[in-house]
């Protein structure tokens, strides 16, 4: 039984990719075989966190969508690239960062159905325990698809007026798609806030459980793009929060 987890946010810049990487790493450290697929084709970036060099990226999700390769050909084992002791496995299916590829997706679009097929094949081919889907912000067809097939959905928001409305819409849409585990995470919360108060208010407003409230941390910001935080600082409170999120997503 593979668990499919989608990480989503209505707007960009919420720390979605970062959260995905941390949860992936924590699950892999627990012994799971975890696949991470970057469906944010328009603005890819998660590969950086997993230390995947762009020059070694011979195939990508894009190639699969154009039918030039099998999806497992675009999967890279990055277990040993991120440091730390990981008993499981991490496979990364990146999106192409080539400008031409990005432009082609924007111009021609692609069949979302291919994604679903790809997900299934990936789980089978790599014998995955968990498939993490790093989605594109907003609610387009492939995002809706990702949500629809997910066993768990983590919606990340920031305490920012611009996030409130869109998050509300996303939560509502996810409910209509009967996602079994729907969780919210409030990220980048200024430290002057009372974290528990924020959790209660957000749960009350969206009528949805909040998996974690993560304060804005200068350390986190400084290390965010340099590697996976939770592996570097396993005893940090933020790492504990991620661990809790991972556990709740796994149900």
């Amino acid at each position: 039984m593979a668990t499919i987890i989608s990480i989503h946010s209505f707007r960009g810049g919420t720390g979605k990719s970062n959260t995905t990487a941390n949860i992936t790493a924590l699950l892999a450290a627990q012994g799971y075989r975890v696949g991470v697929i970057d469906t944010d084709i328009q603005s890819p970036g998660i590969h950086v966190l997993f230390g995947l060099d762009e020059d070694h990226m011979s195939h990508s999700l894009n190639d699969y969508l154009w039918g030039t390769c099998e999806i497992e050909d675009a999967a890279y084992d990055v277990t040993n690239e991120i440091g730390g002791t990981i008993s499981g496995k991490i496979f990364l299916i990146p999106s192409s960062i080539k400008a031409g590829e990005i432009a082609r997706v924007l111009r021609d679009g692609y069949d979302p159905g291919l994604l679903n097929d790809g997900f299934q094949r990936l789980v089978e081919a790599l014998d995955l325990d968990v498939l993490m889907i790093d989605t594109h912000p907003g609610l387009n067809e492939e995002t809706l698809l990702s949500i629809a097939i997910s066993d768990a959905l983590l919606i990340i928001m920031r305490p920012d007026q611009q996030d409130y409305q869109g998050t509300g819409v996303t939560v509502e849409v996810a409910r209509k798609l009967d996602v079994p585990h729907l969780l919210l995470m409030v990220n980048k919360v200024p430290q002057t806030y009372d974290m528990e108060d924020v959790r209660q208010r957000v749960e009350q407003i969206y009528n949805c459980p909040v998996a974690a409230v993560i304060p804005h941390s200068d350390e986190l910001m400084a290390l965010a793009s340099a590697g996976v935080f939770s592996l570097r600082f396993p005893d940090h409170p933020v790492t504990a929060a991620y661990r809790q999120v991972a556990a709740r997503l796994m149900g």
Partner: protein, 540 residues
């Protein structure tokens, strides 16, 4: 800032405080030093002047005294020489040629003013000392007389045994000389017709300008008795000394000038000499009407007295014995001289000017002076103010230097004040300007703004100081304050998560009503199940 408006007390800016302090520190000592310097200078100058003045007075007085004594002695010597001349005259042949030669042979210089009142001319001329020489027989009849270089005709020769026949109608030299022993010489008093004030001055108002007026033409008789070898009285030789030669000793003295001598003294100046004889009569003086003289009958004109009118006083000579009313020193001076003493008296005139008068006796013991041994006295008067002309020059120079010192001091004070003001203003600006800027930054902070530009500027000044440090601290503080404020504002926003439900419903519907969503929803459960079925299958 609001705080300023509510604070009590007077607001005195930094500039003014600094200025006040700097001026006080800079100028007060300078002022005090200047005051003492100028005062001390003045005091030292005054003392120097006083000492100089006193010294000069003393020295001048000493020198004047010495001159008086010396001149008196010179007069005495001159008279003594004439005594010798009188003796010599007994030895020369008693003829006209020898007598004429005798008169011409004895000459000295006479100084006098000639020309007119309007254009006086100073003249110096060699003149015979004696105006007359006569041989008088034992009976009193003149045998031979040469007067003013001319032999008197025999019909004009007189019998001088009777004083009424003498030149001045009252001369008793014949009797007096006849009574003398051989070798002794008779010397008469100064004998002249009296010259009154109107006669001397004429139209002039001052003796110095009365060149054309009447002169005092006096003589002194020198007579030596002649005796035969048997010892019988044999007549006498009589000489008439031209008194101008004696009077000149006194009149030409100029006591307070470096020139020392004058042709005719300026009575008005107070600096002149005069003489008096053993009877107290004045016999040398620029004012001739005070001099001993005879009236037309040959009687002495009585001395001037206090009760006389101004006009009358111009017609009577001065006798020191009776002149106490005019100056109490006169009788005293006469008495001292007759005791053979020299000295000085200091008198103060009505305009408070001091006048010193030094006097000395003229020792001479012949003829009418034999009994006293004193011919008379010489007195030199001098205005003391003129003694210390040198000291006054010192005073003037000190005053000038003090003025220049004052000007320098005032200049220095003004200069220092200007420099102090400039320095204080610049210094204060350098302190108050950044403080003011910091105040502006604080005001900005009050409005919730970060005055980054001002704070950076203050921090990065070329000359760093406490204000720079303060600015740095202030900047950090301001950042924290603003950060905190911003956080507080956000907290308030977070407590108010506003979601427009109607809009949300519309947005959700716009998604859920699409065919894609409907089909997705329909197949979603199936897709999930398929995954799970597969997994279950694998596991089983």
């Amino acid at each position: 800032m609001a705080a300023t408006a509510t604070s009590r007390g007077v607001r005195v800016g930094l500039v003014w405080r600094f200025l006040l302090a700097a001026l006080l520190i800079g100028l007060a000592p300078l002022g005090v030093i200047s005051f003492f310097a100028i005062n001390g200078y003045q005091e030292a100058g005054d003392q120097a002047t006083e000492v100089t003045r006193a010294t000069l007075d003393e020295k001048s007085l000493d020198s004047l005294q010495l001159r008086t004594v010396e001149t008196a002695n010179a007069i005495a010597r001159f008279l003594e020489d004439r005594v010798q001349d009188a003796r010599t005259a007994t030895l020369i042949p008693r003829d006209a040629a020898a007598y004429t030669t005798f008169l011409a042979a004895h000459q000295t210089e006479v100084w006098y003013l000639g020309g007119t009142n309007a254009a006086p001319v100073e003249l110096r001329e060699m003149m015979p000392i004696f105006r007359e020489i006569a041989y008088v027989g034992a009976d009193g009849r003149e045998r031979l007389r040469v007067a003013d270089g001319k032999v008197v005709p025999s019909n004009q020769l007189r019998n001088v045994s009777d004083p009424a026949n003498t030149t001045y109608l009252s001369e008793d030299y014949f009797a007096a000389t006849k009574a003398l022993d051989p070798g002794e010489v008779y010397v008469s008093h100064v004998t002249a017709w009296y010259v009154s004030q109107p006669e001397q001055l004429g139209t002039a108002d001052d003796p110095l300008k009365a060149v054309e007026g009447k002169k005092y033409e006096a003589i002194i008789r020198f007579a030596t008795p002649l005796y035969t070898e048997a010892g019988a009285f044999d007549g006498m030789i009589v000489l008439a000394l031209d008194y101008r030669h004696v009077m000149g000793f006194a009149l030409h003295i100029l006591p307070t000038s470096t020139q020392n001598f004058t042709v005719f003294p300026d009575y008005a100046s107070g600096n002149y000499a005069y003489m008096f004889d053993n009877e107290g009569w004045e016999i040398a003086h620029p004012r001739f009407w005070v001099l001993r003289g005879l009236d037309p009958s040959g009687q002495l004109v009585s001395p001037v007295r206090e009760e006389m009118s101004r006009e009358e006083r111009g017609r009577h000579p001065m006798n020191l014995q009776y002149g106490g009313w005019a100056d109490p020193n006169l009788p005293i001076m006469y008495a001292k001289v007759m005791q053979g003493e020299d000295g000085f008296v200091i008198t103060v005139n009505q305009s408070n000017a001091k006048k010193a008068t030094t006097y000395a006796p003229i020792r001479f013991a012949h003829g009418v002076y034999a009994e006293d041994g004193i011919f008379g006295g010489l007195a030199i008067g001098a205005e003391m103010a003129e003694f210390h002309q040198a000291a006054d020059k010192v005073t003037t120079s000190i005053a000038a230097q003090r003025r220049s010192l004052e000007i320098q001091m005032i200049g220095m004070i003004i200069g220092t004040a200007v420099v102090v003001v400039i320095v204080a203003v610049v210094l204060t600006r350098s302190i108050s300007a950044p403080v003011q800027r910091l105040g502006e930054a604080a005001q900005a902070l009050e409005r919730g703004e970060m005055a980054e530009e001002i704070l950076n500027e203050l921090q990065q000044r070329h000359l760093r100081d406490e204000v720079s440090d303060l600015a740095a601290v202030f900047k950090v503080m301001a950042e924290q304050v603003i950060q905190r404020e911003r956080s507080l504002k956000q907290q308030i926003a977070a407590l108010n998560i506003q979601i427009d439900d109607q809009k949300k419903r519309q947005q959700v519907e716009s998604i859920t009503e699409t065919d894609y969503f409907q089909s997705l929803r329909a197949s979603a459960g199936q897709m999930r199940r398929r995954h799970q079925d597969r997994r279950s299958g694998e596991q089983s």
